[in-house]
């Protein structure tokens, strides 16, 4: 492994304090409805979330952001920040990605000293940008010269790992079960990354109705340990 990829790996650590531990992106709604209740049903949910939402939103945005950075077209990056935020019609999930983006930018900036991260933060401060982890992550990956495909794969991996950890606490599942799910998801992550590389830009932001409803419904779920 190159030392660049190793640097990026730090952002994928499930202990990385970006606040992902408090976001379930609708998973908690399914848990409360007793639809997600064990490893099998959680795997179903994670599959749909990865292939039907993350792929078309964060994943495709990461690819487009990487390409914009290659072409040195920063305006494209700021447009992506906006569309990636406003395509999320469920308020809690939208706020959650903003908070995570904010946290990741703060920490990443102090680790890597990439000027663009400071610019991004400044834009958020001036209300010219929202902040999103997928874009902060991509900026770091690009700066470290990690390949586009690898950057996307790592980003998806970090998201999946956090969600598995959250499921382990919330359903609950055993720690070993959680690790087995992460291992089993390697194939899914590769498949999702390959698809993201092939997607048309016009396919950005496609969302599955059920997933989105669960994210909206979370606002009124009785007992909550997550903020989305």
């Amino acid at each position: 492994m190159t030392s660049q990829a190793l640097s990026l790996l730090q952002l994928c650590d499930s202990n990385f304090p970006n606040g992902a531990f408090s976001q379930s992106f609708g998973l908690e709604t399914y848990i409360q409805k007793d639809i997600v209740k064990d490893a099998a049903t959680f795997t179903d949910w994670l599959n749909v979330y990865l292939h039907e939402q993350l792929t078309f939103a964060d994943g495709l945005a990461a690819r487009m952001a990487y390409e914009a950075l290659n072409d040195d077209e920063l305006n494209r990056l700021w447009e992506l920040d906006r569309i990636l935020t406003v395509q999320n019609l469920a308020r809690e999930s939208r706020d959650g990605t903003q908070r995570m983006g904010d946290r990741m930018l703060d920490i990443a900036e102090s680790i890597y000293q990439i000027p663009l991260l400071a610019t991004y933060k400044e834009k958020i401060k001036n209300k010219q940008a929202f902040g999103h982890s997928a874009l902060a992550f991509t900026i770091v990956g690009h700066d470290l010269n990690v390949e586009k495909e690898t950057t996307i794969l790592y980003y998806l991996y970090s998201t999946v790992v956090s969600l598995v950890q959250n499921a382990v606490r919330a359903i609950p599942l055993g720690q070993t079960t959680g690790q087995k799910i992460i291992y089993a998801f390697q194939a899914e992550l590769k498949q999702a990354t390959e698809k993201i590389m092939q997607l048309e830009e016009s396919e950005f932001g496609i969302v599955s109705p059920g997933l989105e409803l669960s994210q909206m419904q979370h606002e009124r779920v009785g007992i909550r340990i997550f903020s989305s």
Partner: protein, 274 residues
């Protein structure tokens, strides 16, 4: 000759407190009927109709509606929009709304019915100036299929972009493709067949209104699942999954009533069609 199957252009202005059409133009398979001013109201309701009776293979439709400052309009359809099989090319409909300062638009079409092997692609682009209010709805339903298949259409794709004072403020992209998606499974339609959306943008949006809408919708009888959530700008979305068009219509109508009462102290007109 226009390359579109149907074209409609409608420009509204506010003439001393009364909203009137400045320009109405339609061509091909798109038509509007004479406007109706309900209850001698200050603004008209226009009914769209598709004289061909439905959308066919490769049809393309374009609608442009422009509301000048303070202009108000209700736009609906005379009946459901039917999309038939599209063996060669998807049906495409493009809609542009431009809403001037403090204008008001209700765009509440009937359901879209997608029959066997139909492919339909819709793009809505809405530009809103300061103080403008939008009430937008759509209902996607699967048509009857000879072999009893629940989702016999091929693809429904709806993209809506809402810009507030020039900046993208909401983006909605739905793509239903029953051949490749597990429609009945978790995350997709989860056992429901009909999908409704009601998007409202208004500076008058408040948490209290959302609570009230939530209570109202929860009290409506019928089998459905819904969510309501605020947009990144003052406004909100209600998304509904159900098995009957009427159930979704009931929810949208009830929500519309709450909004009209709370914001304007009025009752929306019954858009009598039959």
């Amino acid at each position: 000759m226009s390359k579109w199957t149907g074209v409609l252009e409608l420009d509204m202005e506010n003439r001393e407190g009364r909203s009137v059409a400045k320009n109405v133009y339609f061509q091909g398979a798109f038509k509007v009927m004479r406007p109706v001013y309900f209850n001698k109201g200050a603004f008209p309701c226009y009914y769209l109709l598709n004289p061909g009776g439905g959308y066919l293979d490769g049809d393309t439709y374009r609608m442009k509606v422009n509301l000048e400052e303070e202009a108000q309009l209700t736009l609906t359809t005379q009946s459901a929009t039917k999309v038939y099989k599209t063996p060669n090319k998807e049906v495409y409909q493009e809609t542009h709304f431009h809403m001037g300062k403090n204008s008001y638009l209700e765009y509440l079409p009937d359901a879209l019915i997608a029959y066997k092997d139909a492919r339909y692609h819709q793009k809505n682009v809405i530009h809103m100036e300061q103080g403008a209010t939008l009430l937008y709805s759509d209902i996607l339903t699967p048509g009857w299929s000879p072999d009893g298949e629940q989702f016999s259409y091929n693809m429904l794709r709806l993209k809506t972009e809402i810009y507030k004072e020039g900046e993208l403020a909401a983006f909605d992209h739905i793509k239903l493709e029953p051949k490749t998606q597990q429609m009945n499974e978790l995350g997709f339609m989860e056992g429901y067949t009909h999908l409704g959306s009601f998007i409202v943008v208004s500076e008058q949006t408040s948490d209290e209104l959302l609570d009230q809408l939530y209570e109202t919708i929860t009290g409506i009888p019928g089998d459905f699942s819904f969510g309501i959530s605020k947009l990144a700008i003052p406004g909100f979305t209600v998304r509904i999954m159900a098995n009957y068009t009427q159930v979704i219509e009931r929810i949208i109508t009830a929500s519309h009533h709450v909004i009209s009462k709370e914001w304007y102290g009025t009752k929306p007109s019954f858009l009598r069609k039959y």
